[in-house]
């Protein structure tokens, strides 16, 4: 059984950039504990000398021509997707 403390949940939420409510943090603490306990069964497997599989295509070094692909998308269109923009820039709250 994997033990997940309230501090662990806070830490994971911070790593994940999620500002959780207290209720949600409580629920997720229980869920994450049960999911991690379930997946722990993989520890039973002897994987000595086994190579990990990160991808299944067996493709290697796929190259494309070093040419500009014109997607016909304008800067204006992309900026319009942000909630706030001005002078061709996306506005964000003060950082410092």
């Amino acid at each position: 059984m994997t033990q997940i403390s309230r501090d662990d949940v806070r830490h994971l939420a911070q790593l994940s950039s999620l500002q959780l409510s207290d209720q949600e943090a409580d629920d997720l603490q229980k869920d994450i504990e049960s999911i991690l306990s379930y997946v722990q069964q993989l520890g039973e497997l002897d994987t000595t000398g086994v190579e990990p599989t990160y991808q299944v295509t067996n493709l290697e070094n796929v190259w494309r021509d070093d040419a500009v692909i014109d997607d016909q998308i304008s800067r204006k269109q992309l900026l319009a997707l942000s909630i706030e923009c001005a002078s061709n820039q996306v506005k964000v709250p003060k950082i410092l």
């Binding site: 790593l15 994940s16 999620l18 500002q19 992309l78 950082i95």
Partner: protein, 467 residues
């Protein structure tokens, strides 16, 4: 509903028109709103495209293989004419600046997108109950779930609103809802169809496929969508060419781990009947074992959340997507925008991903899961030395009740137990309808092939439809 090629022939001959087909589909979509299968209709654009195609046909122009055929896409495909929401508050008002390659290819062949289907938010789920806009109801029994995550696409196909619909399948999200609604669902070999312009979930298993009423239609759609795309470097060089006939006397392995007493007896019975049909058709079916199946859910729920946590890091409330109001600092803006924009299941998976990728846990979880994945693939490879295809149920049960699995995430994950294995190995898998349960709910059989055997697997499935 007619085969796609009949619709196309009738449009080209003038017996019907693209406009009539699109209008009929839109009308039917509106008449079936109670199922909540669609999040939006792309009505204006669809009618305009239909008129354009009708005009070009009149002028004698050669239109493609899907001329005038209406279809629906899961709302995690970027498409023009309606927002691309991924059924989330995060992307509720996101107007895509481009279209997915899959849609561009279908449009180039003359098909017309009429609307966008409901899903579990960001495709995280197996019932469409995780949609931020409310669940989709099963096409056969409205008191049951549609399955998921591509629940809306399965339901619009089952209700004959359109002849085909697109979905994405990361761990069963096409096959399982296809099974729950009694339609054909194809998850092709990983890399068959470009994922450019589709909201990413878990990049090492995300695939694009479709739903249709029969295998031939699904084959045609996959053929049109497939092929190399410079915008998705994981796409395989063109390999998909439909085969006219199924090879005779194939050797097929029935996966015994999928036929245990835990599996619904009606499901096992329908699989046994399908197996008998295969034997009568001259194929050999033998029981085979895939012992690593026991570990596949554990692998899946490490690898997939890890990839989700990194793919969903892009939703920060800055460049696009939901942004919270009145945040004082940048950290608060990120944290609150993400908290408001994601549903609980998204957060669960992101946080599990953050955990298994953290230093100190990486080797024990993520690395171990990827090694276990190798062992699973080795078992599949050994079986495919002897067998042409594998068979089993698509889901351990028919469609379940609303709320039945929502309180316990592990219980919900167990519904994926028969589909995640082929996703982890990148194998083509198809759901074909195989009858109903005692309570008249659809049951599906899953056919699984070696990588790139899609065409022969589909030919086999097609040959069995006539039996």
């Amino acid at each position: 509903m007619n085969h796609i090629h009949t619709i196309v022939t009738n449009i080209k001959s003038g017996e019907t028109s693209a406009r009539q087909q699109v209008e009929a589909a839109l009308e039917k979509a509106k008449a079936n709103e109670a199922y909540h299968a669609l999040l939006s209709l792309t009505e204006a654009r669809a009618l305009q495209r239909a008129d354009d195609i009708d005009l070009r046909i009149k002028q004698g122009e050669e239109i493609g293989e899907l001329a005038g055929v209406p279809f629906v896409v899961k709302d995690n495909f970027m498409a023009f004419g309606a927002p691309t929401t991924a059924a989330s508050k995060m992307l509720e008002h996101f107007d895509a600046p481009l279209q997915a390659t899959a849609i561009e290819k279908l449009e180039a062949a003359g098909a017309i997108c009429i609307g966008k289907a409901n899903l579990d938010a960001f495709a995280h789920g197996g019932s469409t109950e995780n949609s931020a806009f409310g669940p989709t109801k099963n096409a056969i029994d409205m008191t049951k779930v549609a399955g998921g995550s591509s629940g809306g696409s399965a339901v619009v196909t089952a209700l004959d609103i359109v002849p085909f619909a697109l979905g994405t399948d990361t761990g069963g999200s096409i096959r399982q809802p296809a099974s729950f609604n009694g339609v054909v669902g194809i998850k092709p070999t990983y890399g068959t169809v470009s994922r450019y312009g589709v909201v990413a979930m878990a990049s090492s298993t995300d695939t694009i496929g479709c739903f249709a009423k029969n295998v031939a239609d699904a084959e045609l759609v996959v053929k049109v969508m497939s092929g190399r795309d410079v915008r998705d470097m994981t796409t395989l060089p063109d390999f998909f060419a439909p085969e006219a006939e199924a090879r005779p006397a194939q050797k097929i392995g029935l996966i015994k781990e999928f036929m245990t007493d835990d599996v619904d007896p009606d499901v096992r019975e329908r699989v046994d009947e399908y197996t008998e049909k295969l034997r009568s058709a001259g194929h050999v079916v033998e029981e085979v074992s895939l012992p690593m199946v026991k570990y596949t859910l554990a692998m899946y729920y490490i690898i997939v959340p890890a990839e989700i946590s990194s793919n969903l890091a892009r939703y920060d409330g800055i460049r696009y997507g939901h942004r919270t109001e009145n945040a004082k600092t940048l950290a608060e803006l990120y944290g609150r925008s993400r908290n408001e924009g994601f549903v609980t299941e998204n957060k669960r998976r992101i946080m599990i991903g953050s955990y298994v990728l953290s230093s100190g846990f990486f080797d024990a979880y993520y690395q171990q899961a990827q090694k276990a994945r190798t062992l699973l693939i080795n078992e599949y490879n050994a079986l495919f030395e002897t067998y042409d295809a594998l068979i089993g149920p698509t889901s351990p049960t028919p469609a379940f009740d609303f709320g039945e699995n929502t309180s316990d995430p592990i219980k919900m994950y167990l519904a994926d137990i028969m589909t995640v294995a082929s996703s982890l190995a990148g194998l083509p898998s198809i759901n074909v309808p195989a009858g109903v349960s005692a309570t008249r709910l659809p049951i599906g059989v899953q056919l699984i092939g070696q990588r790139k055997s899609d065409a022969s697997l589909l030919a086999l499935a097609r040959s069995m439809e006539e039996k």
